[in-house]
Amino acid sequence: MPVGLSVDGALGYPSPSRPFRPSRYVPVSAATAFLVGASTLFLCFTCPWLAERFSSSIPLYNVVVFLFTLANFCMATFMDPGIFPRAEEDEDKEDDFRAPLYKTVEVRGIQVRMKWCSTCRFYRPPRCSHCSVCDNCVEEFDHHCPWVNNCIGRRNYRYFFLFLLSLTTHIMNVFGFSLLYILHHTKHLDQVDSGVTMAVMCVSGLFFVPVAGLTGFHIVLVARGRTTNEQVTGKFRGGVNPFTHGCLKNIAHVLCGSQAPRYLGRLRKPHSVEVQPPFLRPPLSEAQLEAKAVDNGIQQSKSSLEIMESQSTDADPPPPPKPEHRYPGMPHTQNEECSLLTEAPPTPSLYKYRPSYSSPGKNHTASTHSSKMSRGNSMTESPSVPVTTGQPSYRSDPSLSSRGGAGCRGGGEGGKAGSGGLGGASTFGGRSYPSFTDTLLQSAAASCSSSLRSAHTAHNALGPLISEGTTSTSYKSLANQTRNGSLSYESLLTHSESPEFESAAHELSPPRPHPPHSLSTAAGAPPISGYTSPFLSAQQREGSLQACPAPLRPSPNRAFLRPTSSPPSRAPPLSPRARSLGSPPPGPAPGHTPLGKSLSYAGGAELQHRPSSSGGGTPMQNSTIKQNVANHNTPSHKPVGGVKKVTGVGGTTYGISV
């Protein structure tokens, strides 16, 4: 049916079937009952007299308006609002572990943030929002209307708007004509007809006020080119709405635009084209040949990186001015994380968690945040980390990444170096880091704590570590822990088996001060608010550092958690980013290292590429097996300033600054 009912189980499954909740149908049933019931009674009891007394066009007019209202009501109720099908696994790989929670894009000159949807596994296009009732991302999401028991989005907003207009008109008609009837039958009010008419009048009078109010509200929205969601969340309160084209054009777009296609339930034609080698190759230009020579063969994520850099938007209010690309106070190669950050795409260090990919590098970058953090080397060292490739548990190190991210971000965001990290983080105040293009450092710093996507989905399970929508450095990985309980660092540390971040998530808990969880502790112990959590006091970090090597457990999860262990399972796409990592920053404060390391580790490959230098310890090896060797300086770097070198699985060596 061309109208496109939203069908569960159709091609492009929007969401798994949900339990039947009868309470969802109460408002829509009531609305239908009142509409149909009152109108029918009016048409049966009042209209005959009106036709007789005045003209038969009155009932006809009322019937037409009623049918129009009903048609729009049905369309608004049954039409697919513009649900996006879930992204497939292979698409997800593009935005690998190091991908930030937010991507910013520029829409007509205004920075808009696109948020990673952990349920649907893609970055929500501008104006798209995830409806928790329907559990779907809806294009141009307006709101979820209980009276029609459906989301109102791009495809059915017009019908909803027309429904409101026609319903207001219909109510006014019914009320008006009923009043007319009553005024002419004041002496016959005891009759059935009069009684029914009075009842209908009361019902219509009662519903008139809210319906007219809502209609007026939507008229204003249409004129302004805003959705209810944007209006209610105050997205463009002080700023400019990039989606408006002027009042008339906005109205035209709503009422005269062509019917948008549905995305679900489409028949997918298999490719009828056979692709068989040998394939043609375009002639390589000189530049390409040169590039080929130096290229290590890993190109995959480059374009996605660039894309991420260039577009990051969300339909959030315009983000604050982009912080400096690099954490100002931090030398470029301050530590693994930092170098990772500088070279990795300037995205917040919150990475999305992907069970099939672990990119610890990403998380690493998160940890590079403040100068304090610096020398992630110590963090990265994880003697006991025979990181198992492909251990999903590695990836799910929300706490680590978040921690690192938050820390980094905190520092970066405020443009403060070192100690500014914490302060910086605090400035986030719960705002997601909007600028994707900020250095990883910043993102790493900030992301650690709050911007974890998981926070969003896991209801701030991480508590102080994750503040919903605060830091920009949320990790997709964390966000992807939708169905998990709290994400606790502890759980990540302790959870050995389960590759699922779920388990990690559950285990995640506010960091405990004991040494084995030094990392987590460091990250979470202090009474840090969301994004500031990753910033540990120097002492804590110190402590965690000391504790770092020891508690490392062979479990992959733990290994992953340990900043030093870079799980080889990290996705290959990390390599380009990892590659660019510079040398670790000189002499990072030891206290920060563990945090940074852990974060960086969580972040994935980023950190690893940093050669350890002054006290920085070894950069964490890229967890990805593929990326490992090419990008890491591991073999070559020597721990300085008391950096302990540890060899992990996959030939990665980590330097832990002691």
Binding site: M1, P2, V3, G12, A71, C74, M75, F84, P85, A87, E88, E89, D90, E91, K93, E94, V105, E106, V107, R108, V112, P126, R127, E139, E140, R158, H245, K249, C256, G257, S258, Q259, P261, Y263, K269, P270, H271, S272, V273, E274, V275, Q276, P277, P278, F279, L280, R281, P282, L284, Q288, A291, K292, G297, Q299, Q300, K302, S303, S304, I307, Q311
Partner: protein, 143 residues
């Protein structure tokens, strides 16, 4: 989907990787894809050709979303018939989508398949990305 590909690949080349061309939101929410040439395709195809394909797609989508007399009439007719017209008639957008599908099929047959690439209709991904599948070039060696 991935399975479909792999099944097909048994008969044809193996999939090396996929490139996703993202949407270009600089002009708003209209359907437009980035014409930036992805790095992964640098060695596999001509940049001009790629840009041309994407530009054509963008133009087609712009045509689909155009607020013109056609869409207005369609809307009026739908209103008058209490939307029952949708049961028998195809909307303007759907018509253009068919055109786009045909165009992509044509491009695949003529240009992309010989290069070991395959374009996937973005409507399958909710008009969010254009997926380009890169096939392993066994004769030369995959990159």
């Amino acid at each position: 989907m991935a399975e479909t590909h792999s099944l097909q690949d048994l008969r044809q080349a193996a999939v090396t990787s996929k490139v996703f061309v993202q949407r270009d939101y600089t002009s708003g929410t209209i359907c437009k894809f980035q014409t930036k040439f992805p790095a992964e395709l640098e060695s596999r195809m001509d940049k001009q050709q790629f840009e041309e394909t994407i530009q054509t797609l963008n133009n087609l989508y712009a045509e689909a979303e155009k607020l013109g007399g056609r869409s207005y009439l369609e809307g009026c007719l739908a209103c008058l018939t209490a939307y029952t017209i949708f049961l028998c008639m195809e909307t303007h957008y759907e018509k253009v989508l068919k055109k786009i599908a045909k165009y992509i099929q044509e491009q695949n047959e003529k240009i992309y398949a010989p290069l070991g690439l395959l374009l996937t209709d973005p409507i399958e991904r909710g008009l969010r990305v254009v997926e380009i599948t890169i096939f392993e070039d066994r004769s030369i060696g995959s990159r």
